[in-house]
Structures are given as structure tokens and as C-alpha cells.
């Protein structure tokens, strides 16, 4: 039933609220945002929320089936893996590794990328090009290969893979931030501010930064999905998270031997990974569409 509107006020809100309203009108984005929120909460609070200890092995309950199948138990809703550890708890803890650490990597890359991108964007000519392409060296090596190299140098472990992923995602931020800033510098309001006497730093802080925030969030969503897949891939290869860490990629690799016996041990982490990446991409998509709609109205 349509809401009764006595006085039609459409444009009476700030640009952020307009963006939010456009975003909320797309159903896929709303669900994706809910999923991302749940993942973030899991990533933060997993140790408190897991029903069982994710690392506790139980020799009597190896490969118990999920609760909806015949041999399953309600106590272990998603079954157990080949060492008797509760799958649900491990998946929840996995969120904090795959998702949480991906967020860390992206934030680190964002800060560095913002620094280099800002210097490159606010300057002109040679200096701008140098800072822009300084970190392009990282583009010459595929991210997985770079992770392997770093692991070969520093040794395996999930923390070392964070460095690799940060490096892989950094050029994306530098270029993105620089392009956004250059686009802003061409606008009339920047000229107006310069005419008013703003220095470069004042210009950056008051005008440019608020206007590129939305572009930066878009870049973050793109980088986040890449980072999550990279962490999972490295865990799968055994280069990242080492056993018994409950990281989704590592869980898939461990359970691969018993694929025919207990397919759920492989399928469930995979499904969750798929859902996480899809949600992040949908949020990014929704944001882009909302920005476009706001610009057009």
C-alpha cells in the first residue's frame, strides 16, 4: 500500500541521505548489505559466538553428516570434518580470517594508496607521473605469484600473505585515487575555491576529499573481493593459512581428500566464500547505481 504523502519533499535531504535512499531502493543491494554486515559481525565476534571450540578434535565424531541428513545431529548443525571438529564453528571463525583479514589488507592498501594517489593527483606533470606509476611494478607480477615469492622469502603464514595481497591491490588504489582527484580538479567548483584563495591542502581537505569518498568506497569493494579470493586461494595452496587454522580456503584443501565421503566439508566453505564475494560485489554495484541515479536526478 502506498504511503500517504501530504507534502511531497523529494530533494530536501543532504546528498548522503539521497544516496542512501537510492541504495535502499534496490533490493539486491539491501540483502547484500545485510550479508556483509553479518559477515563483519562474525569476523569481529566469532570467538564469542561459536557453539563449540573450532579447534577441539573429537575422535568419536569424525565426519558426522549435517543435521538435515540421516546420520546428522542437531548438536553439530553442519556436521564435523575429518578430525571431528564442528564445521559450523570453524566456518564462523573462518569469516574472521578470510573476511576480516581481507578487510585489513584493503585498509592498509587504502591508506598507502591514498597517500601516493593524493600526491600524484594534486601535482602535475612529471612528479605526478612518477608517483602514479611508482607502484606499478607490483602489477608486473600476478598476485598469487607475488604471494609465493614473499612466502618463499618470509616463510609461510597468514600474516605474510597479507603483505602480498596489500601489494597486489595497491596499484588499483593509487590509480583510482589519482584519477578521481584529477577528475575533481577539472570541476568548476575547484576553480572557484582557488579563486577564493584556498591553498592546495585546504582545497584537498575541504573540497576534494569529501567528493572522492564515494569513489574510494567503490574501489574498496572491488579490492575486497579480490583480497578475499586471494586469501582463500593462498590458503588452499597451503601458502597462507596453515593447518589447523580455520580459514575457508585451507578448509577446502584439507577436506579435498574426503570429497566423495563427505562432500559437505568442501561444499559449505566454498558456498560461504561465494556468498561473501557476491555480497561485496553487489554492494559495490548497488553503490555505483545509486550514485548514477543521484547524479541524474
Amino acid at each position: 500500500m502506498k504511503k500517504l504523502r501530504l507534502y511531497y519533499e523529494e530533494q530536501n535531504r543532504g546528498p548522503l541521505r539521497l544516496l542512501w535512499r537510492n541504495f535502499m531502493r534496490q533490493h539486491s543491494s539491501v540483502w547484500a548489505l545485510i550479508a556483509v554486515t553479518i559477515l563483519s559481525l562474525l569476523a569481529l565476534l566469532a570467538p564469542l559466538l561459536t557453539p563449540h571450540d573450532p579447534y577441539l578434535q573429537n575422535a568419536n565424531l569424525l565426519l558426522v553428516q549435517p543435521s538435515w541428513q540421516e546420520g546428522g545431529m542437531v548438536r553439530y548443525p553442519l556436521g564435523t570434518d575429518d578430525l571431528g571438529r564442528d564445521l559450523l564453528s570453524r566456518l564462523m571463525l573462518g569469516a574472521s580470517y578470510t573476511f576480516g583479514l581481507a578487510v585489513f589488507a584493503v585498509l592498509g592498501a587504502l591508506l598507502l594508496g591514498l597517500f601516493f594517489g593524493a600526491i600524484s593527483g594534486m601535482s602535475k606533470g612529471f612528479k605526478s607521473s612518477i608517483f602514479n606509476h611508482l607502484l606499478d611494478l607490483a602489477l608486473t607480477i600476478p598476485s598469487l605469484l607475488m604471494a609465493i615469492i614473499i612466502v618463499a622469502v618470509l616463510g609461510p603464514g597468514i600474516l605474510n600473505t597479507i603483505w602480498a595481497i596489500m601489494l597486489a591491490v595497491l596499484p588499483l588504489f593509487v590509480h583510482g585515487v589519482r584519477n578521481a582527484i584529477q577528475h575533481q580538479l577539472q570541476q568548476d567548483y575547484v576553480t572557484a575555491y582557488r579563486l577564493d584563495g584556498a591553498s592546495d591542502w585546504q582545497l584537498f581537505y575541504s573540497v576534494i576529499l569529501p567528493n572522492i569518498l564515494e569513489d574510494i568506497v567503490l574501489l574498496c569493494t572491488m579490492a575486497l573481493s579480490t583480497a578475499m579470493l586471494d586469501i582463500a586461494a593462498l590458503g588452499f595452496l597451503g601458502l597462507g593459512a596453515q593447518a589447523p587454522t580455520a580459514e575457508w580456503g585451507a578448509m577446502i584443501a584439507d577436506a579435498l581428500d574426503s570429497l566423495y565421503l563427505s562432500p559437505w566439508t568442501v561444499a559449505l566453505p566454498g558456498l560461504l566464500l561465494f556468498a561473501a564475494v557476491l555480497s561485496v560485489n553487489l554492494v559495490g554495484d548497488g553503490l555505483r547505481k545509486a550514485m548514477k541515479k543521484r547524479r541524474e536526478s
Binding site: G14, A192, V207, N211
Partner: protein, 255 residues
């Protein structure tokens, strides 16, 4: 009546890359001189490529002239040091909507303008903002609006408020009245005429709309490919144009 603004022999050349090693010189402005008194309007007319926008940018400080001087109130302006005359010569953009940052409230924007150019404290700035808005027929509530909440006419007034808040002596309107509807244009022209009468503000109007020029400009300068071909008080220019190009322009008015 002494002249407020005097421009002597301004010239500007742009260099465009031609091929790998050669650079082609484009003469944007050649030996241009004119003057403007307080409370008067000068219209600069010319087709695209005649150098009108370059002239506007030089006057306001966005570009630097290669030769010649500008005198404001008998003080020679040093082109390197824009801060000197930033307050006195202000600029109105062609499209008001594009000249304001979309996610800043009007009050924040005006506070910033005052903060960069003056040493007033917060209360004094607030008072100045409200006075200026009132001068242009806007309400104090409008200070809390974002730019997209205004209608076209109100937005132009906000742009005028931003220009006038520093109490300038000269206002440059670069094709600011071109892209708007006739009824809106009439409103803005009325506001400008009113301001000129009250505060003796001088305008430099860069436009191609000769009917408007005939109505509100005291003097007219015709530019053709960077050279001033005609410079005279408006009624004289329209009744007896001296240069061929001006004659053609005026004839296009009649037809």
C-alpha cells in the same frame, strides 16, 4: 569620474604542440586596452575563439598576461601576487550548479570563502553571511541548504552571494546569462541592476547577446580574433559601428 579599472596593452600567447619538436604560437590577445569606471558596465562581445574567456581569466587571476599592466583604483596589480586583488575582482561562472561543491552546505562554503580571505571570527562571519544572503533576497534558512535543493534562479543568487560576500568592486560575468531561460534572465538582470545602483558595483559582462548589451552596458568592446576592433559607448557603437565585423554583428540583430 576616475577610472576604477584600467587595462593597458594586455597580450597573451598560447603555445600549442605541433608534431614532436615544433610549438605553434597562438595569439589569444593582442595589445588590448580599456577602462571601467565605478558603477558602470562594460560588455565584451565576440565569437568563440576571439579571446573573451582568456581576457576574463587574466582579469580575475586564473591566467597571467604575457605583456601589459592592469591598474585597479590606481594601484598596479602584480600578477604573481593574486591575493592582492582577489577580493576586489570576483568571477561568476557560466553554470551556477557546476561552480558549487555538491556536498557542502551553502553556509559551509561561504564560511570557507571568508576564512581564506579575511580574518573575521565565527560570529562575524555568520553575520556577514546572513547580511549578504538578505541582500540577494535569500532567507537565512537557505544557508543550510545543499546546492541541489535550490531552483535555477536561487542558485544563481547563491553564486552571486559567494562573489559579493567579499565586497568586491568589479564582477566578471563570463557568459553567465547565456544558458538560462528568458524569464530567469530577466530576474537576474534586475538583481544585477539593483545591486549596481545600490553599491556602485562595476560589471564586465562577457556575452554574445547584443539585445541585453544594448540595455545594460554603458560601454561595449568588440573582440575579433584577439584584437579589439571596436570600443565605444554602447549607443554610439550600435548607431554607427566603425568596423566591418561590428556592422555584421549589429545587422544580425535586425534580421
Amino acid at each position: 569620474m576616475s577610472n576604477l579599472l584600467q587595462v593597458h596593452h594586455i597580450s597573451k600567447t598560447f603555445y600549442k604542440q605541433q608534431g614532436l619538436f615544433k610549438k605553434r604560437a597562438i595569439l589569444a590577445l593582442q595589445d588590448l586596452s580599456f577602462s571601467l569606471a565605478a558603477g558602470q558596465t562594460l560588455a565584451i562581445v565576440g565569437e568563440t575563439g576571439s579571446g573573451k574567456s582568456t581576457l576574463a581569466k587574466i582579469l580575475v587571476g586564473m591566467e597571467q598576461a604575457d605583456g601589459g599592466h592592469i591598474w585597479l583604483a590606481n594601484v598596479k596589480l602584480d600578477q604573481e601576487n593574486r591575493a592582492q586583488y582577489r577580493q576586489h575582482i570576483r568571477y561568476i561562472f557560466q553554470e551556477a550548479a557546476r561552480s558549487m561543491p555538491p556536498n557542502q552546505r551553502v553556509s559551509d562554503m561561504l564560511h570557507n570563502v571568508l576564512r581564506y580571505a579575511t580574518v573575521l571570527d565565527h560570529e562575524q562571519r555568520q553575520e556577514k553571511i546572513l547580511t549578504t544572503l538578505k541582500l540577494l533576497g535569500l532567507l537565512p534558512d537557505h544557508a543550510n541548504y545543499y546546492p541541489h535543493m535550490f531552483s535555477g534562479g536561487q542558485l544563481q543568487r547563491v553564486a552571486l552571494a559567494r562573489a559579493l560576500i567579499l565586497d568586491p568592486k568589479v564582477l566578471i560575468l563570463d557568459e553567465a546569462l547565456t544558458a538560462i531561460d528568458p524569464s530567469l534572465r530577466a530576474q537576474i538582470v534586475n538583481v544585477l541592476l539593483d545591486l549596481q545602483q545600490k553599491t556602485q558595483l562595476s560589471y564586465i559582462l562577457i556575452t554574445n547577446q547584443l539585445r541585453l548589451v544594448r540595455h545594460i552596458a554603458d560601454h561595449t568592446l568588440v573582440l575579433h580574433q584577439g584584437v579589439c576592433v571596436d570600443y565605444a559607448p554602447t549607443p554610439e557603437l550600435f548607431s554607427a559601428p566603425s568596423h566591418d565585423y561590428t556592422k555584421r554583428l549589429i545587422n544580425s540583430l535586425v534580421l
